[in-house]
Amino acid sequence: FSSHYFNLQCNMILQKLFKYSLKSIFGYFTMATLTRQDLNFGQVVADILCEFLEVAIHLILYVRDVYPSGIFQKRKKYNVPVQMSCHPDLNQYIQDTLHCVKPLIEKNEAEKVVVVIMDKEHRPVERFVFEISQPPLLSISSETLLSHVEQLLRAIILKISVCDAVLDNNPPGCTFTVLVHTREAATRNMEKVQVIKDFPWIVADEQEVHMEEAKLIPLKTMTSDILKMQLYVEEKTQKT
């Protein structure tokens, strides 16, 4: 009996299988057309956040040399230059992953979104952790300007683009994966509802979640009325 409830309580850490395909959704930030009736703030937050995560993941992959810099193009987002991959399959994977993360964020069930960079032996060397928390009361009155949120997000993006200064170089041949730490029993529903067919969540390997002798490097914390998020990097002490 005891083990039963303990397992339920134990928080699931999930991972998307790596797949490829293409399309960019940059610039679909069309808030101005929404009217008050349409506004579901959970959705708005999820939209903003997923858009941001997409930009951030691309940038992390570029900054951390996971892929050759040749596949990246310079774009402008949040009024700052960012790098975005042109590889269709990679883009599609990132997009699909975030598409599946979005429902979790809407319901405030995602606690952390983690970009794990792994070496050839699939041992994690770096984990970029986006820790998300939403204020318990999300209502029209607690919301302030989204442009303000955008400034905060821009600050995080800027921090990512210079984070190589505080991190050691990665060994060659790295890959990456995206993990989601969910709150409580969100997994039960997730297995039922597959947002994209044949793109299921799987429980992450212990090996990918835990990194030995890791050091923690906080990059940026943002606090706004609709969202509180902090980004930190866990870096393996000996990367070779």
């Binding site: 339920l8 928080n11 008050r36 405030n108 318990p136 300007l145 442009s147 905060l152 800027l158 029993a185």
Partner: protein, 983 residues
């Protein structure tokens, strides 16, 4: 889920008492459902019992196991589960964390941790709920019983040879947590940390968090000495020593409380570590204690306070000054009388009281005059500029005089050397001499200006305890050394000013009239005459202005004149000029003035001391060294009571003594700036020029008379009114400010509720908080909104508030138009929303304070104008805190990084040996930052401290940093599974 849970409950709160038929029907339906499901659940699970028969639980908030799971367990074991709380039917409330308000609400109910259920099931019988109570303060338990129970608990619930390997961790946690709870009440004493700690900032914190967080600091080193994780494999519950619980439990408990926030993957590893702590700690404890001793060599020298001694002194200083200067004028005695009626509450909150207070407050008058005179001087100067030269009647007169009798060589010498000369003109006991200028019968008699005109005795009011207050002041101020017990019945009206005759009898300014009358029975009292003061002061300034316009107004009766050019032009000696000015003033105002002269402002002011009364003194530069050597240090500007007492402890009483100290010594004792200042001052060096156009640094309004609120709303209304007063002043000065500071005087714990002085503030602690705005403002509404936010963040008991002040700093002229740059992007949602539905009812949101609508506008106003990305982080509106159950972590009231940095810098640079309380405060703050998930700030704070403390010459600081870092790393390790990278 936990969050959803809270939301639901929050909306339900109001309906607890009486819901209509619908709710009743719903509840009974739910009950039916529960009964129906129960057998099915039992069948499915196979195990069932009826240990909980008669128990009906209601789950409040996040629990572990979850509410669903608890519901299932209750089904299995014969209990009831209520989705809605009913006082009559629900027997136990299950919760792991409750806000203070809920605890109040649930007083008398059994609030129990969920472990009670799981442990009971494991034990196979219903255990006593007492030891699982969420808050042990519900019922007091003595320590011996705790030990006994703790042991029994261990043996009954833990099987050391449990076959399933995944379990020991959860078991031991429960052990830990359940025994903590009952020890909660005892713990502070057990640890010996909290003895007599009912002081200052800590008193403001909610009880619970204060306990845990403070003790946290002591506990972490235990964890810091942890064995490597693999030792956990051998862990068995028997290793846990009950006795050691005392030391490590607070830690565990604080983790428990925090649980809802880390209800995630991380919590599993938390559990892991927690249990680890409980096994490893006993062995390491001695080491910890010795380490603490090393760090804090004088742990008991400062009994029972968490405030640094300087801070305390600072308080006293301000308090005394305020006490002396705020005063009810005779005109306002009506007000005092009318508010004397019992039951009339929140006097300060009454509309109009503020403006009335300010129209009668002496200090207010004087302070506004000073500005008025500054502006008068400014106006004169600009008029002269416009007219292209002005006629200085006084100057002309002096010139003629000079022509008649040519003065000696000295004036020529002066012309030649062109040494700067400052005149400090000060009226002799201004209020008295103005008060008696039409009453020749009082000349030469001891006279005091005060509001009291009676015999100096009043009846004692109930609720006040003048004796205690006098003892307090006596301790603080040596001048009340000879207090006798009869004082209780004496008038508490302060003496604003007294004549030299009265001073000879020992009467001092600021003394209570009753006391003064005892010292000098012939003392005559003269009422205030504000109109006359103003007239006299104005004519004094007119007189000065007839010589030169290089005047700096210091107050209504005090001015600085830069006479350097004037003397050169006229070719007269400073003494001639001073004599002429004094004669002029005497003639025009009927009051005497003293003039001190020197080569800089400091020397001129010191010379005035020697010149008084009714005289003049020119401090020649060659005499300066001899002169200043004998001056007491207290005559230096900026040397107040606290600093002179500190100097006395350094065996410094005169400036000559002070000159013996090296600048590095002074800077070490008083901080870099103050140290340098003292070093220069005691040598008569002072380079501030006479500033006729004085830049205002702040605009403020403060009131600490008659502040008695009973409700939060009253305080809010009061703040709004005060903000309007500030607005008035800002507008008057044509200024806008960017930074708003709220200062509050709060009755010191233990001080009598009703102070000896009627309506006075009594013995108080002072607190201040400030916020920076994105844009300078002079709008009372905006200021009020921010002030109310600050006020709520301070979490004060409004009943104990005795004084409130609002200050606006970082001023700019209001003419500069800040709205030059509009938003670069299109309109935001907020614009659209506001355009569509402009009027929100302020009452709509129960959480919002009254000034809610303006709060929204603040946010809007701010964000609209913020464009620079680098500044964005500082402009975050603070509204989040309203929704966040956890307050923003603060370090001694500061929460912005820049403030914290200043605070830390002051701390490290001014103090040679860190105090243990301060270190614990910092550790606590860092722990809160981790819990608040603001690693970035934590990182910045740590890095800043590292730089500061490791640079410090004292090795104690390096040790202090290591101590802090160790503790923080443990917390980070527990929360995030890895430690911070500190390079």
């Amino acid at each position: 889920m936990s969050r959803d849970g809270w939301r639901k409950k929050a909306s339900e709160d109001d309906g607890w008492g009486g819901r209509g038929g619908y709710m009743a029907a719903k509840i009974s339906k739910l009950e039916e459902q529960f009964q129906k499901d129960a057998p099915r659940e039992k069948q499915k699970d196979g195990t069932s019992s009826c240990i909980f028969s008669g128990v009906a639980i209601y789950v409040n908030g996040y629990t572990d196991p979850s509410a669903d799971e608890l519901r299932r367990l209750m089904m299995l074991h014969g209990g009831q589960f209520h989705l809605y709380y009913t006082r009559s039917k629900t027997t136990h409330i299950i919760a792991t964390n409750l806000p203070n308000s809920k605890i109040q609400e649930l007083k008398g109910e059994k609030v129990v941790r969920p472990e009670w259920i799981t442990d009971s099931i494991k034990a196979g019988c219903q255990l006593s709920y007492v030891q699982y109570q969420l808050y042990a303060k519900q019922k007091s338990l003595n320590f011996t019983s705790i030990c006994a129970r703790g042991k029994q608990d261990l043996s009954s619930t833990n099987d050391p040879f449990k076959p399933n390997p995944s379990h020991p961790q959860s078991d031991s946690i429960k052990n830990g947590s359940c025994s903590i709870i009952e020890e909660d009440a005892e713990r502070p004493r057990v640890n010996g940390i909290h003895d007599g700690d009912d002081d200052d900032a800590c008193a403001l914190l909610p009880r619970g968090s204060q306990d845990t967080s403070l003790t946290n600091g002591y506990v972490h080193p235990v964890n810091g000495a942890l064995k490597p994780q693999d030792s956990f494999a051998e862990h068995s519950p028997h290793v846990v020593d009950i006795g050691s619980h005392q030391s490590h439990l607070p830690q565990t408990e604080s983790r428990d409380r925090e649980e809802p926030s880390c209800s995630s993957a991380g919590s599993k590893s938390n559990f892991h570590q927690r249990s680890l702590i409980s096994t490893a700690s006993p062995a390491k404890q001695p080491g910890l204690h010795s380490m603490q001793k090393d760090l804090h060599p004088k742990p008991t020298s400062n009994p029972g306070t968490s405030a640094a001694p300087q801070k305390g002194n600072l308080h006293d200083q301000t308090r005394v000054r305020l006490n002396g200067s705020y005063h009810m004028t005779p005109n306002s005695s009506n007000l005092a009388d009318s508010s004397h009626q019992p039951g009339r509450s929140g006097k300060g909150a009454e509309a109009g009281v503020i403006s009335e207070f300010f129209s009668h407050s002496r200090l207010h008058h004087i302070s506004t005059w000073r500005n008025e005179f500054s502006e008068y001087v400014n106006a004169l100067q600009s008029r002269r500029r416009a007219a292209g030269g002005a006629v200085f009647s006084g100057k002309e007169k002096l010139k003629k005089l000079k022509a008649n009798c040519s003065s000696g060589i000295l004036s020529l010498w002066f012309m030649f050397v062109r040494q700067s000369c400052i005149l400090h003109v000060d009226m002799d006991c201004f209020f008295v001499s103005v008060g008696i200028r039409h009453r020749p019968d009082l000349i030469g008699k001891p006279v005091a200006v005060t509001s009291n005109r009676g015999p100096g005795r009043v009846a004692q009011r109930p609720g006040s305890n003048p004796q205690l207050e006098f003892q307090y002041y006596q301790r603080k101020q040596k001048q009340y050394r000879k207090v006798d017990l009869d004082l209780a019945a004496l008038s508490m009206a302060e003496i604003a000013s007294c004549s030299y005759e009265a001073r000879q009898a020992g009467v001092r300014n600021g003394m209570f009239f009753g006391r003064a009358k005892q010292l000098c029975p012939d003392l005559q009292s003269v009422p205030y005459d504000f109109q006359a003061y103003k007239e006299v002061a104005l004519s004094m300034y007119e007189t000065l202005a007839s010589y030169t316009h290089n005047i700096e107004a210091l107050s209504c009766d005090e001015a600085l004149v830069d006479a350097t050019n004037l003397l050169v032009e006229l070719g007269v000696t400073p003494d001639d000029l001073a004599r002429a000015i004094r004669e002029d003033i005497k003639e025009k105002t009927g009051c005497s003035a003293s003039v001190g002269m020197g080569s800089n402002i400091l020397l001129a002011r010191m010379a005035t001391r020697k010149a008084k009364p009714n005289g003049q003194y020119f401090l020649r530069s060659e005499e300066v060294d001899d002169f200043i050597r004998d001056q007491p240090v207290s005559s230096l500007p900026g040397v107040g009571r606290s600093m002179s007492s500190k100097l006395t402890s350094l065996r410094v009483s005169t400036c000559g003594d002070l000159q013996q100290l090296s600048i590095s010594r002074l800077q070490r004792e008083f901080g870099p700036r103050t140290g340098q200042m003292l070093f220069r001052f005691c040598r008569g060096l002072y380079d501030r020029p006479v500033r006729s156009e004085k830049e205002r640094k702040s605009v403020s309004a403060e009131m600490n008379y008659n502040i008695r609120f009973t409700q939060v709303e009253e305080a809010e209304t009061f703040l709004t009114n005060l903000s309007m007063e500030v607005q008035k002043r800002l507008e008057g000065a044509g200024l806008r400010g960017r930074r708003i500071t709220l200062k509050v005087m709060v009755r010191k714990p233990g001080a009598p509720v009703e102070p000896a002085k009627y309506g006075g503030h009594g013995i108080c602690d002072n607190f201040a908080r400030s916020v920076s705005l994105a844009q300078p403002t002079d709008s009372g509404q905006l200021i009020a909104a921010e002030a109310i936010k600050l006020f709520h963040a301070m979490k004060l008991d409004v009943k104990d508030m005795r004084g409130v002040g609002l200050q606006v700093q970082q001023l700019e002229g209001s003419h500069a138009d800040p709205s030059g740059q509009g938003p670069s992007r299109g309109r935001s949602i907020k614009d659209l929303l506001l355009a569509k539905q402009p009027a929100h009812s302020p009452k709509k949101d129960p959480l919002a304070p009254q000034g809610w609508s303006s709060v929204i506008r603040t946010g809007f106003f701010k964000s609209k104008n913020v464009q620079c990305p680098s500044s964005s982080s500082t402009d975050v509106p603070e509204t989040l805190s309203k929704f966040n159950p956890r307050p923003v972590p603060t370090l001694a009231g500061a929460y912005e990084f820049s403030d914290i940095r200043t605070l830390l810098r002051e701390w490290v640079t001014t103090i040679s040996e860190p105090m243990e309380e301060d270190i614990l405060q910092v550790v606590k703050f860092c722990t809160e930052l981790v819990e608040d998930k603001d690693l970035e700030k934590l990182y910045l704070v740590i890095k800043y401290m590292k730089r500061l403390m490791q640079q410090s010459s004292e090795s104690v600081w390096s040790m202090a940093f290591d101590f802090i870092l160790d503790n923080v790393q443990v917390v980070v390790q527990q929360t995030y599974g890895s430690t911070l990278k500190i390079t």
